[in-house]
């Protein structure tokens, strides 16, 4: 459905900054009806990839085939097959819900009975039925997102692209949105590509792609990715992580990874976690704030591959947001 081959994108430099490579030789194929999550730390190139996929940016080289047509050569044909939900809301706040939907229908040339049918279908899953005459301004963040998704569904897209669609939603709206998205995707057999930092959202995906430095680090089902880490791990929180880590190396000869105040012994064989935990507690009780045995989650896969925790990724985003 989406076939990306040898994609490279280099941002032209300016007088002050040299050209910057955002994506280098990336190849990725997403099959029909697949739900794929694209994740990666900031600067990993996922936003650039997203802009290229929705046809707003032309890459330096490579090819992209969307539903059988070449996105770069025939953007209009590819555009008609897909719908995009952007991170910043693409609805007009001054217009009512109905007006927004109508406007979108006009852009895609929908009208008459066909439109009425599609409106019912696109609104069926939402909580918007009583809010059609209200301005989008007056809706909650979660409902405004529903308008956005309903608008996209109006055109019966084969492919749906979403760029961090749950940003700014509270956890319950976020869960509702993702649940609705999954059931719609299954019902309509749409191909979905969604960027996200929220790993709970990725657990239900068919495949998860993790990018870093403009390259694909991993692309697999969440189960396989977790199995790749393979084993359980012991996670230690300490006030003195540096000193503790050094002592674990010296005394026990165990391999560790440190993320902030957290020390992780990732390569622990199944069943070996408990003895190690006991050993650490007897030796270093005074230095340990908390200690636990964890089964690897997707977030741990992400940390393992990119060397960043989700908090770090989020705080980076905050830094960008507040200059």
């Amino acid at each position: 459905m989406i076939r990306i081959q040898h994609l490279t994108h280099v941002y032209p430099g300016t007088r002050k900054s040299p050209p910057r490579t955002a994506i280098s030789d990336l190849s990725l194929t997403i099959g029909e009806g697949e739900f794929c999550i694209l994740s990666g730390p900031n600067g990993s190139g996922k936003s650039t990839l997203f802009r290229i996929l929705c046809g707003m940016t032309l890459p330096s080289s490579g090819s992209i085939c969307i539903a059988g047509s070449d996105l770069l050569k025939e953007p209009a044909i590819a555009r008609a097959q897909m719908a995009v939900v952007f991170q910043s809301p693409a609805v007009d706040k001054h217009l009512t819900v109905r007006e927004n939907l109508r406007l979108h229908a006009d852009l895609y040339g929908l009208k008459g009975r066909d439109l009425a049918e599609r409106l019912d279908e696109a609104l069926g899953w939402t909580d918007l039925k009583d809010r059609l005459p209200d301005k989008v301004d007056t809706l909650s963040g979660g409902l405004a997102r529903q308008v956005e998704l309903a608008k996209c569904l109006l055109t019966r897209p084969k492919i749906l692209l979403l760029d961090e669609p749950t940003t700014g939603l509270d956890p319950s709206s976020r869960r509702n949105f993702v649940t609705a998205l999954h059931s719609i995707q299954r019902g309509r057999k749409m191909t979905v590509l969604m960027t996200s930092h929220i790993f709970s959202e990725a657990e239900d995906a068919d495949r998860v792609a993790i990018m870093k430095g403009g390259q694909l680090l991993a692309l697999d089902s969440p189960q396989t990715l977790r199995a790749g880490l393979g084993r359980e791990m012991v996670v230690v929180q300490s006030r003195n992580p540096l000193g503790l880590e050094a002592r674990i190396h010296a005394d026990l000869h165990l391999r560790t990874r440190r993320h902030g105040e957290e020390i992780r012994l990732e390569e622990t064989d199944n069943g070996a976690g408990l003895p190690i935990l006991e050993e650490l507690l007897t030796r270093y009780r005074a230095d340990i704030d908390s200690i636990a045995i964890k089964q690897p989650a997707l977030e741990d896969v992400f940390i393992h591959l990119t060397g960043k925790t989700a908090q770090e990724v989020e705080s980076e985003q905050l830094e960008i947001a507040t200059p």
């Binding site: 280099v10 032309l58 897909m82 693409a90 001054h94 006009d106």
Partner: protein, 261 residues
């Protein structure tokens, strides 16, 4: 494509109507300008060849031009807002012609300007200006043409702007002077040589000729008047160039460097 243009233009208009401050501001400001400046300068003003024309009357078409200028400025600023808010992205990824995106915005701005200037045209009889049907038709054609020119020019400048503050700078140093040097405030004939040249080159000055002449000459006479015909040609060319230029800007997609650094 016509449907897309109409839908986008309608959106502009609905947004305008829903913001009463904007309606009041854009209608009231030029009228205040007109009444205050017009009345104030009336005693000291004599235009060559228009000796029995009061300044209130002289300034009248100039105020209409100003309404169009402001309507265009406000509709251009909404491009920047649309980009900021995210609405523009959804239009850009839709399978619509790029010309429709430009025309939707431009015709939306034009419609807003038309409502204002048509209301303002009702003041003509009170100035002792009488319009035949033919002249009225020519006048309305001039309104449309000029509004399109202004709105397309605003679009051209606003497209690449990321902040409305930046657009205000363009407006003050470029768009406002175009209006000031159009002959709206003072006649071209008596201006010093360098200013005269600037004013002759200014397409907006030609647009003003189109808007002032129908009040004083019959349509038959106008189509024999060389100055009027030149003004018409220049204004059409100006509007067309601005529209095509805007379309080229929308058409242009961000491009990656061709070779590896």
């Amino acid at each position: 494509m016509i449907r897309v243009v109409f839908a986008l233009a309608k959106r502009e208009f609905v947004r305008f109507i829903r913001q009463p401050q904007r309606v009041i501001g854009t209608v009231a400001q030029p009228i205040l300008f007109w009444l205050f400046l017009g009345s104030g300068f009336s005693s000291s003003f004599r235009a060559p060849g228009m000796e029995n024309v009061s300044y209130l009357e002289y300034f009248y078409p100039g105020v209409m031009l100003m309404m169009m200028l402001f309507a265009s400025i406000f509709s251009s600023i909404t491009i920047i807002e649309d980009r900021d808010a995210g609405f523009l992205q959804s239009v850009l990824v839709a399978p619509v012609s790029r010309m429709a995106i430009v025309l939707g915005k431009v015709l939306g701005g034009t419609a807003i300007a038309m409502v204002q200037t048509l209301i303002f045209t009702l003041a003509a009889p009170f100035l002792g200006l009488h319009l035949g049907l033919g002249s009225l038709a020519l006048l309305i054609a001039a309104y449309v043409l000029t509004s399109v020119g202004f709105a397309a020019m605003g679009f051209f400048f606003a497209w690449s702007m990321r902040s409305s503050a930046g657009f205000h700078a363009i407006m003050m140093v470029f768009l406002m002077p175009l209006w000031m040097l159009s002959g709206a405030l003072f006649p071209i004939e008596r201006a010093p040589g360098w200013l005269h040249v600037l004013m002759t080159l200014n397409p907006v000055a030609h647009a003003l000729v189109l808007m002032r002449s129908p009040f004083y000459k019959t349509p038959d006479a106008l189509f024999l008047d060389q100055r009027y015909l030149i003004a018409l040609a220049v204004t059409v060319a100006w509007a067309a160039v601005c529209l095509l230029g805007s379309m080229a800007r929308v058409e242009k997609r961000e491009r990656g460097l061709a070779s590896q650094p």
